[in-house]
Chain length 482, copies 2
Amino acid sequence: MVNFGIIFRVLGSLLVLEGIFMATCLPVSYYYDGYGFLPLLVSALFTFILGVITQIATRKVDKSLGKREGYIIVSLVWVIFSLFGALPFVVSGAIPSFTDAYFETMSGFTTTGASILNDIEAMPKGLLFWRSMTQWLGGMGIIVLSIAILPILGIGGMQLFAAEVPGPTPDKLHPRIKETAKRLWIIYLLFTIAETILLMFGGMGLFDAVNHSFTTMATGGYSTKQASIAAWDSTYIHYVITVFMFIAGTNFTLSYFAMHFKFAKVWQNEEFRYYLGFVVSFSILIAIVLSLFHDQSFDIAFRDSLFQVVSIMTTTGFVTADYLSWLPFVGVVMFMLMFFGGSAGSTGGGMKIVRVVMLLKNSVLELRRLVHPNAIIPVRLNKRAVPPTIVTNVLAFVVFYMLITTFSTIIMSMMGYELDTSVGAVAATLGNIGPGIGKVGPMDNFAHIPTFGKWFLSFLMLLGRLELFTVLILFSPSFWRK
Amino acid sequence: MVNFGIIFRVLGSLLVLEGIFMATCLPVSYYYDGYGFLPLLVSALFTFILGVITQIATRKVDKSLGKREGYIIVSLVWVIFSLFGALPFVVSGAIPSFTDAYFETMSGFTTTGASILNDIEAMPKGLLFWRSMTQWLGGMGIIVLSIAILPILGIGGMQLFAAEVPGPTPDKLHPRIKETAKRLWIIYLLFTIAETILLMFGGMGLFDAVNHSFTTMATGGYSTKQASIAAWDSTYIHYVITVFMFIAGTNFTLSYFAMHFKFAKVWQNEEFRYYLGFVVSFSILIAIVLSLFHDQSFDIAFRDSLFQVVSIMTTTGFVTADYLSWLPFVGVVMFMLMFFGGSAGSTGGGMKIVRVVMLLKNSVLELRRLVHPNAIIPVRLNKRAVPPTIVTNVLAFVVFYMLITTFSTIIMSMMGYELDTSVGAVAATLGNIGPGIGKVGPMDNFAHIPTFGKWFLSFLMLLGRLELFTVLILFSPSFWRK
């Protein structure tokens, strides 16, 4: 039997936390504006008190926590957080429709960044701050999840990426999840502070700087401006954000090493080298196209190209230029990059670079295996042979990703959207990116999606954020059998 | 060392055959029109004589034929046949550009059906007959290849489909490839004759009937009319062609059994049941959409829907209605079906239904494997467990197919095409379908593609037709090493 008591208890304790975090937006709201304060207060209190009640009600339950309970808790946390996190928006009337508010909050906690807001600047600043914070909290959640929890559950080859990274994995560096989480969160916090300071040096106000640092480190992409980062016509700001997006898309265990001056360990990580390689080569490629065919000077072309490549690949979704207005070739490349995603153990979404790399390697080796049918030719990562079961796991993950993309595209097309918008909306939400292509491109938003579509895309955000299997396993009958 | 002598010899002997087949178009040309005759004669003689010279020149070479020579011959046959098969079009001036002629002929021999002709009816009938015959010959080639040769080479899980089908495989029913080939070709011929007769009953003239039977059984899709099958406003003709397309998309060993009244064996084949299931369910689904949203009576809606679903799924590419003018949903579903393809051992292209089925099954099982990490849960096909290496083969094939689709789409987009046209052209050629989506949709053709694009798409046709690996292996350095 599934131990529902402990599930309630854990979720309740997290609700208490959510209430507290919501309350931290109160000073911001008080300082900047009037009408968001009371709704925030009510929502925070309601969430906090409900959490406390759950804690009291479940104080006598069996405390044993198994794998099954783990799957259920992880999937439900994001749903529950989004349900309660949507309250300030609904209560204040800033987002009147609950569907919209839920979409916006799920898009926050999953660090997606897809928005239904048509006039971001009109929102009370306290609510905007909460909106950015949902992403920042979601980023924190995903770091622990991908580095400490998913490897234990054995999802989509995550055990490999955690073990292969010679870093603070649960059984190697620190025996307890808590300790790992604490160390990585400190790094996360330090980067956020550093980015805030650097952005303020560039002339960005404190409020905007904090918000954008929150959503950069989470690879979330929520902005306080309707025009996103394009609102700042500052090369310095664009580059600062580019650098921090790149860091956020890097495995946080590598940042841990870098902070301890163990740069060799960073460079030894194959995923990181590919990540850097992809970013540099695609940026230069697109920059050349821009300067040749769009008459831009190379430095501006490179800045915009690099920014958009990093923004899409890390699945942040910030916008400084409309990549859909560039040559069709650029749009197609951008669309492809939406599937790459960030590094494993980063806050980035998508399929993850290490999986793409293993895919490419395995494909090349498949040809060699045909030539030598009796030889055993393993995929190598970080100079070690990857066990065949993990390769199969990764292949299955990628195939699943493609199948879900396909079927979801069909579902979106049922709402009357053409192929580009349908597949764009799916890729952008499943990959936790934000802007897609077609009518959900970087210059548009998701407001026009019908109600059912918004709930469906919210589900895709959850699915993508939790590496598919964490959620899908709950729909498998064998999961619920004894 | 690769034995190039025997490669030349085999290719030469096949050239002799091509010359002879080209010559069979001479009576047609003589009867129907004037100006195609001489070019056909010259081309046939040239091809024939060159083949004979090769035969004489290589009569003393080492006759040993290994796997490596097999790969090279198979890949080159289609290229050489297309080079020489293009001659009548170029010599006659009917297709002045050699690029166009090569594209058209490769599209023929690979049974793709993508055309660059803007006015098919203006072509001399002898040349049209040769055009249809390239598809018919290509279909013959692919039957032997997929049932008798590829399983020996061990490509993309083909060994499984050949062995699992309780049929005339090289080592089971008949020890020699020749015997298997002969039996299946007789079936192929019988179906072609049967369709011709049935089409003539529907009022189609002999010339059109033979041509369309050729290209139906090959799942090629070349028509003698610019409007394709839509040129005949006859429900009877539409249904006759639908039935034969369906048969052509079925494993020919199953047709062999059906002809020997062993229907139980046909039904026991799981791929066939899924094939039928997909066709029926998607046709009904789309028919409902058409009658609800396009105000069509259900019988016409079902006829058109069934025809287009079968035409796309079997990768024939005949057109009776413009599926791109239907709801976006239908276009997206059609696009997805382009990847399904026909059955293994049919003349259909695409990924093959059995692979799609194994993919879906493996995905569902992957969830069960997560729940029971220590249990061994194999994919089952035709009630037998599939060896894990074959499952990996199939997964690798599908991943390769997707990778090639992705990179090729990027290459097409470099020529200035938007995403839909780019990916449509790739899916339509790699899948050997013919019409795609966007600007290469069912109402358009490939004439507007730039020269480089035509050569590139021709290469994709070859790649798709030969199950990717047969061609790609030639680009692997380890293939050429001792």
